[in-house]
C-alpha cells in the first residue's frame, strides 16, 4: 500500500520537462532527481518528499524514449504516478523498471494538489483521504504485474531463464 501527498500536473507532460535533455549526460538516478520537472516546476526537486505521489492528466510522459524520465521521478522520491492516460513508451519504461503507475481518468480529474492519497497497486484502488473519494484504476494484467513484482523486466527475464 502506498500513501502520500499529491503533486499535481496537467495534460501532455512531456519527457523534456520531466528531465531536460541537457541533463541526460549524467544518467545516475540521484543526478537526474535533482533536475526532475525543472522546466515545468523549478521548485519540485527541492520540495518533493520521499513517499509523495504524482498525478498527471492525459498523455503523461509523451515525447522521447528516455527511460531517464521515470527513473528521475522514481529517484526524486515519488512512489507512484496516477494519470488519465500515459504515453506508451513512458508506460513501458515504468513497468520495465518496476515503477507503479495507474491509469484512472476520474482520479486524475478529481484529486487536487496537496491531497493525501492511498494507492493499492494490486487492486488499483485509489483513495483520496482528504476528500474521501474512492476510485478504481484498471489493475495491470497478470503478465505485467509479474514484471513489476520481479522488480522490472530484466530481473523477470533472469527468473524466467533460471527456471
Amino acid at each position: 500500500m502506498i500513501r502520500g501527498k499529491v503533486w499535481k500536473f496537467g495534460d501532455h507532460v512531456d519527457t523534456d520537462v520531466i528531465i531536460p535533455a541537457r541533463y541526460l549526460n549524467a544518467p545516475e538516478p540521484s543526478e537526474l532527481a535533482k533536475h526532475c520537472m525543472e522546466d515545468i516546476d523549478s521548485s519540485f526537486a527541492g520540495a518533493v518528499q520521499a513517499g509523495d505521489i504524482m498525478v498527471g492528466g492525459w498523455n503523461f510522459g509523451c515525447g522521447s524514449s528516455r527511460e531517464h524520465a521515470p527513473v528521475a521521478i522514481q529517484a526524486s522520491g515519488i512512489t507512484c504516478v496516477i494519470a488519465a492516460s500515459f504515453a506508451r513508451i513512458f508506460y513501458r519504461n515504468s513497468i520495465n523498471i518496476g515503477f507503479p503507475i495507474l491509469e484512472c481518468p476520474e482520479a486524475s480529474e478529481a484529486i487536487r494538489a496537496g491531497d493525501i492519497v492511498t494507492v493499492d497497486t494490486e487492486t488499483g484502488k485509489i483513495t483520496d483521504e482528504t476528500t474521501g473519494q474512492v476510485f478504481e484504476a484498471k489493475p495491470f494484467p497478470p503478465f505485467i504485474q509479474k514484471i513489476v513484482e520481479s522488480g522490472g523486466l530484466l530481473p523477470y527475464l533472469k527468473e524466467k531463464q533460471g527456471k
Binding site: 512531456d14 523534456d16 520537462v17 535533455a21 549526460n25 528516455r66 527511460e67 504515453a87 530484466l154
Partner: protein, 413 residues
Amino acid sequence: MGMTMTQKILAAHAGLPEVHAGDLIEARLDIVLGNDVTTPVAIGVFEKAGFTEVFDKDKIVIALDHYTPCKDIKSAELCKTSRDFAVKHKISHFYDVGTVGIEHALLPEQGIVGPGDCIIGADSHTCTYGALGAFSTGVGSTDMAAGMASGLNWFKVPPAIKVELKGKLQPFVSGKDVILHLIGEIGVDGALYKSLEFAGEGVAELSMDDRFTISNMAIEAGGKNGIFPVDGKTMEYVKGRFEREPVVFEADADAEYERVVTIDLSELKPTVSMPHLPSNTKTAEEVAGLHIDQVVIGSCTNGRIRCIVIPATQEIYLKCIEEGIVKAFVEAGCAVSAPTCGPCLGGHMGVMAAGERAVATTNRNFVGRMGHTESEVILASPAVAAASAVAGCVAVPDAAELEAEEVCHLAQD
C-alpha cells in the same frame, strides 16, 4: 476478422497464426538499436541483471549520434561506455564519429533495416522504419537491454488507425506537411497505443524521403508505429542496400480499423507547428512574417539530401558536397555541421537563449526543447525552413525571394 499490416508482422514474429488488438505477445526481434544517450543505461541494466552475452552480435546496432562529436566530459564518458561494450561483444553495427549518421537516416541507408522486420530501438523516433514496411517502435533502455540479452520482447498488439491518402502533393509541399497536418487533425495523443497504417492511391505519389518523415513523427501523435505498404519505390530503395531478404506483408482486406482518416494530398499547404505542441498546426501562410532568430535544417525527421545544413549521414554529406549543395548553403551564410542530433534536443550546436525563436525541420517543439524554457520552436518542412532562413521570418516557400527559391529548389531536389 483479418489483420492489419502491423498485426501480421507481429504474428509472424511471435510464431502465431493470428493476433488480435490487445493481445500480449512475445515477439522475435530482427534489430535492436540504441544511441549514446540510451545505450549506456541499457548496458548498466544488462550487466546489473547478470547477463554476460548478447543474443546476436549482428542484430544489435549502436549509433553514437546525440551528443557527438562529444560536447563535454560527461558525454564522452557515456560514449566510452558504449564503445567499450561494442568492442567487448564484437557488435558488428557500431557507428562512431566519422562513420555515424543520425540513427534513423543511417539504418535505412546502410540497409540494416528493411521490409517485414520487427525492430525495437531505444529512441522514440525508431518508428521511422515503418516507411520500409517494417514493424518498428521506440522503447526504453530496459527494453533495449532485454532485447540485447534475449532477442525477444513483449508487445501489446495495437489497434489501428488507417490513414487513407489520395491525390498528389503540390510543389513545395512534402511529407513533413502531411504528418504535421495529420497530427493537427488527430492530436498529440490521437494515435496513443495504436498503429498508424498509411494506405491508398496517394502512397505511390510519396517519395521514400516523404514516407520516412511521415513514419518518423508517428510517435508525435502518440502512435506505437507508423507503417507504409511495400511498393515498387520501397523495393527500389532497398535494392542493393538491405542485407537480408525483404519480406512483404499486406493488410487483409477485412482488417479492423478503429478509425479512418482521409487526407487529400493535393489540398495540403505548407504547414507549421507553433509552440509548444506538434499538434498546434497552422499553415505557413497564416503565420508568415513572424520574427525568428534561428533556422535548423536537419534531424532524423528531415536531414536527407533534400534538406541540408545538418546532413544526417556521412554519405548524404558527401553527396551534398559533390552536388555543390554545401557550397550553396555556405555562400548563403549557413553553418554546415557534421551529422548530429545536437540542436533538435537542445543538446549542443544551436542551443537557444531566452526569448529566441527558431524554425526547425525537427520533430518536437516542447517547452525548452531547443534550449531555454522561454525559447520557442516552430516545426516546418525543409522548404518552409529554407524560405524562412532567407526571409528572416516565417515565410511561405513560393512567395519568398528568388534566392530563397533557389535554396528551396536544392532542398526539394
